[in-house]
Amino acid sequence: MDFEPSPEQKLILETVRRFVREEILPLEADLDPDASELPAHHRERLVAMTKELGFYGLDIPEEYGGPGIDLVTRTLMAFEMAQHRAGLYAPCYGVFGGAGLAQLYEADDDQKERYLHPVLRGEKRGFFALTEPSGGSDPARAIRTTAVRDGDDWILDGEKTFISGADKADFGIVFARTDPELGRKGITCFLVDTDMPGFRVRRIVHTLRSTHYAAELEFNRVRVPGRNVLGEVNQGFAIANDRLSRNRIPYAAGCVGVALKAQEMAIAYAKTRKTFGDYLSTRQAVQWMIVDNEIDLRTARALTLEAAARADAGKPFRTEAAICKLVASEGASRVVDRAMQIHGGYGMTKDLPLERWYRELRIRRVGEGPNEIQRLIVARDVIGGSFH
């Protein structure tokens, strides 16, 4: 496939690149190196700029006010938007807007009115709660949170863990078991308001990613009205699964973005830093690190764009999404690791963004489905069989 950007794409990418270099990087120089939010006045100013550019809410479907940009172009943009310190988990600090929670586009009209539209207006925040202490990679078996019908309502009991944004959210998309006999066909998706009695954020889960932390949640006889069932009863697994596949492409794109920047930094440093009377870039050991970086980068970039192109074409893309997620997360980890090695002691410091990317990329090999699960998905698709 030819992924050479079209003239229109080049114009868009140049605009985004300039935005990152002229608007984001100067602000970042004054922020704490682990920050993932901008001061409110800067955020408002930059959101106004992205709206003016027609790039706000990139992932929002066109019928809901999004700009209607295809996924390949959004992936190319994501490569650019990640090229700063906070870029992996907070590309451009969110000033391009988000799509909210994709499952809400499948909600009924009443639910869209109560949840989707307030999210798109920036009035409400939601979280996605699938993983439990018993596991997250095999939700069909690991979900122990139960929902039992009580008249027109459902009573939820259980716990969730590693849930991002739950402590500051207004509601959550929560998966619970509604039929213990049916395995993956016994799971239902609920919209749970965080002020419903019995819902508690038990604690923050501290990880090597200091911002964008996760939380541990408790559901103690939470009464959820029947009108808050998202989709059909016992059909929640399909909703979860679809989200997991779709998210893997932008997830991979963020990895590629920071790796591109790390490689740029490594080359620049190697061409200016001298040891034993000559530049690092003349040393074969360093050259090979840069070459290996380039191979990892080009592989991840091509596979991520291939997955996006298949999704744009309406073709099945589960295998491609799994491959690009694992190749990009593992490749980018190696690229950043080599870039740190080339930078020597400076590479370990908070003066440079490399140490933050190094920590956060480690999470990328587990987040959105561990890479072992991605391999399992690919094996299932190319060999066949259900792998029970």
Binding site: D32, P33, D34, A35, S36, E37, P39, A40, H41, R125, E132, P133, S134, D167, K168, T194, R200, V201, R202, R203, I204, V205, H206, T207, L208, S210, T211, Y213, A215, E216, E218, K350
Partner: protein, 124 residues
């Protein structure tokens, strides 16, 4: 089987390190590491929660000295060394609001409209 380690291996939800009197010697003895801190008055009130982040010149030592200098009533402080200073700071703010219903005044002034997390008040 769920993992049974507890949670906040650092010190539970709240800061539980001993309070120290605020004087030059105590500040000079502080480590240069990153972490979180609490500045208090002589009556047992909290004046400010804060963190020593990656841009602090001498970690907790300089961050606490600078924070204390802003508060006339500052009389004591306590701190916790942690590299997860952002998430720990956000956790301390959330727990403080759960316990007291509002942020310390200095934190409220600097919040700039950003939400504070809601966390269960029960437990340590």
């Amino acid at each position: 089987m769920a993992v049974q380690f507890h949670a906040n291996g650092m010190s539970g939800l709240r800061l539980t390190k001993p309070w120290l009197d605020l004087d030059e010697a105590a500040i000079a003895a502080l480590p240069g590491q990153l972490g979180v801190y609490e500045i208090g008055d002589a009556q047992g009130g909290t004046l400010e929660l804060g963190f020593a982040g990656g841009r602090s010149r001498f970690g907790l030592r300089s961050a606490i000295a600078e924070a204390a200098a802003k508060h006339e009533r500052a009389a004591r402080f306590r701190y916790e060394v942690t590299m997860q200073y952002w998430s720990r700071f956000e956790e301390l703010l959330a727990v403080y609001v759960a316990d007291h219903g509002e942020l310390p005044a200095a934190n409220a002034e600097n919040r700039g409209g950003r939400r504070v997390g809601r966390i269960a008040a029960a437990g340590s």
